[in-house]
Symmetry: C2
Subunit: 146 residues, 2 copies
Amino acid sequence: MSDNYFSKIAETGIRPSVQRVAVYTYLREHPVHPTVDMVYSALSPVYPTLSRTTIYNTLKLFADSGLVQVIRIEDDRLRYDADTSPHLHFKCRKCGNVFDITDEETLRKINADCIALLPAGFSAERIQTNIWGLCSTCVQKQKSAS
Amino acid sequence: MSDNYFSKIAETGIRPSVQRVAVYTYLREHPVHPTVDMVYSALSPVYPTLSRTTIYNTLKLFADSGLVQVIRIEDDRLRYDADTSPHLHFKCRKCGNVFDITDEETLRKINADCIALLPAGFSAERIQTNIWGLCSTCVQKQKSAS
DNA sequence: TTGTCTGCAAAACATTTGCATACTG
DNA sequence: CAGTATGCAAATGTTTTGCAGACAA
């Protein structure tokens, strides 16, 4: 498993150091779209010398190489996602969780529809859709409270 | 014109102070999706006592009331848009400009398609699509350079 | 006059940078 | 050995907060 990640990093042309494999593995195995700090808090006990700077360096490197995507769904910090297939994100304003909304076929079509709206000559490289609202659990809670 | 904005703010239940009208007017008349600092730099010469804090307060107030929308298209700062009709944003990675992509009918449909993908019980309140790439001008420049 | 709004100064964070040390091929 | 990666400490830049004075109903 981890070996897979090692190869995946190497294939991207990035030297798969212990730290980098650890970060990528964490992202893969905890698809909660973590922030830098969440990654650091999780890995720090396992790799006591690990520094936040390395997490920043690593995630930026991964993002620039297209290995992970940066999710801009918060007002004050970035989140990261190792799943780069077409999917959109939903953030519940009550519990704060970020959910993946996946339906690859439909989303490919939606993305194509969006890109079709661009003026002539524009070239799209990346597209991201975010939805904010209440998740079903929080909708339930709100109902039973009132 | 400015009077319109005064009423528009008042209708939202917000007291239309001089500063607030100035900020809203600026957003309306300069649809470049400015950052806090851009608004401050533009208005500061006209209202010498104006402070950044007030711009922050005002834009947050407006955003919470739905009078403006927050655009999360940069990595390190927020942008604001007084146009709340369905439209998406395109950021050119070379010149840095943010363009509006508008086609209200199509976009209403696209948004509906996205929301249809949400799991049962989820309730959507806000949706935002961003595209990154190169604008036609920068594509041209790149071509003629090579 | 009473509550709200403004704006200064300081604080709080997230992120970046400089640089010395530690790896790794 | 040479070049790259790591991580500490300090800097940067955006946004928030505390608070006192100004303003408006």
